[in-house]
Symmetry: C2
Subunit: 271 residues, 2 copies
DNA sequence: CGCGGGCTTGAGAGATATCAAAACTCGTGG
DNA sequence: CCACGAGTTTTGATATCTCTCAAGCCCGCG
């Protein structure tokens, strides 16, 4: 079991706050040094958030929506909604390097708030600054909208998952997704990764009560597929887990596209 | 009850195939005549699709994803997934004027196919042509990504809806959403609008069996909230329906943003 | 007239929520 | 070092909802 501080993703971030962002975007987009410098310069200020506290900028009062774009630097956040019944519904998890907002142009009247899970550091990027950076560095634009498409694909998969599977399969699918997104090898992982979600969090994300979530986890444990306890997720049988969850990680991948360069050229020429 | 042909949205489209698209985008984006001309010129070819037939371009074979962007001209389409159990899960409905694809830059490895509901006409726009149009007409770019954000907001709402409400409330919420998106006055509507979905379609969208969907509809009928039969949806008590569904249409709206012009200027200056 | 798709009804099985409470963990303060 | 308290995990019993299976009805269409 790793100490809780490991959620804070190490110390190197102080010098390069956007390190995880650049690393994530680099999986699908070829950045030049100018792109990296521009990304690094985007951090306006940093927000610290505490467990289950909604980001102030997202509160109902400021509905005008022209606040900043948030990027997770360390820790996890989630987007959530409160139902009239008083239950909380988690709609998305954002991990270090993830962008939380993809409504760059839009002034939305209502959007779900974002909350921290455990101690979290978040960068706030002004929309205008990001737009300007995109104009100068087309690869940043491509990367941002590619991430938006990935976010949408994940959301669709959650819609499938939450609506239509048995409890233990829902849970298994979510755990598969998170394991891959954490950066898991996509393989059996006896050592385990630190995992900040409580059973109640998992339940709110899967549309289950925490009680039933607990029983579903016990199912997975009994089946020898994984062990989830004390802040650590250990996958004992990755293939088996994927099979029971019907998990296909393809939706989480963005193919690196060699047309990138060509299109960037078009953009520059068109101005 | 209106005849089925009314789903084909009239005859005027022949001359202006993108008329519904321009009308929808104009709710939130100020287009100049150049923007409208450019939008009109984007239609590559038109696809006709038949009920429950997936668009060929979306079939498993062409996974490379660099096919066209689809825009619904008339009729409805849906994005769907087939589960291992053999059940169909509907993830989104696209109405006339809606854009079906927001992965403009991305080469996705896997994406859910799109199918027609009833007779449908669809425009296919090449990604490259759309990108070029965006470079020349920044308002088109803003409008496209604003629609993407709206699409994402709808998807999040579906995730809430499907996972966490009783059957009759799920159904009520979906019907509220569709009534607004159809262009309903957002009010009691005795005349009714033509409504192409079967009870099985509604069930697949809400995560219910068609049998249970039928019972939920009967609940709504008995409560005097609406009547849904013979291809027509009549809302008898809009306020009551919204109340039982906890429906707040705010997520369907994009505020018209006067910063539009300013940002467009930035874009032109930056080239 | 027969046929098929969609709609409706009924009965029973299975899964999940709800209610209630105990056991456990961990940080905090005395 | 220990007691305490809040939050988390676990267990049990019951109620409710939704699915499944089976079948009949309705209506437009060939």
């Amino acid at each position: 079991m790793r100490p809780l501080e490991s959620f804070d993703s190490g110390a190197g971030d102080k010098g390069q706050p956007m390190g995880m962002l650049v690393r994530k975007l680099s999986r699908h987009t070829n950045f030049g040094s100018g792109d990296r410098v521009a990304l690094g310069a985007l951090v306006g200020h940093q927000v610290r958030a505490l467990r289950h506290r909604a980001l102030a900028e997202r509160d109902a009062g400021s509905g005008s929506g022209s606040g900043p774009i948030h990027v997770v630097l360390s820790g996890w956040t989630c987007r959530f909604a409160m139902l009239p019944s008083g239950r909380r519904r988690i709609l998305a998890f954002y991990l270090p390097g993830d962008i939380c907002d993809f409504d760059l142009f839009t002034t939305r009247q209502l959007d779900q708030p974002i909350a921290a899970i455990g101690a979290t550091r978040i960068a706030a990027i002004e929309r205008r600054a990001l737009r300007q950076a995109m104009n100068r560095q087309p690869q940043i634009e491509r990367a941002y909208w590619s991430e938006a498409a990935l976010d949408a694909a994940i959301q669709r998969t959650w819609t499938i998952n939450v609506g239509h599977r048995a409890a233990d399969r829902r849970l298994a699918h979510l755990l598969c997704e998170l394991h891959v997104r954490i950066g898991g090898t996509g393989a059996t992982d006896q050592a385990g990764v630190s995992f900040p979600l409580t059973q109640a969090d998992l339940g709110d994300a899967c549309g289950l009560t925490s009680i039933h979530t607990n029983r579903a986890i016990q199912e997975l444990r009994r089946a020898g597929l994984l062990d989830l306890s004390a802040g650590t997720l250990r996958i004992h049988d990755w293939a088996g887990l994927c099979a029971m969850a019907s998990f296909d990680p393809a939706y989480l991948t963005i193919a690196r596209d060699d047309e990138d360069e060509e299109a960037a050229g078009e953009r520059r020429a068109a101005g």
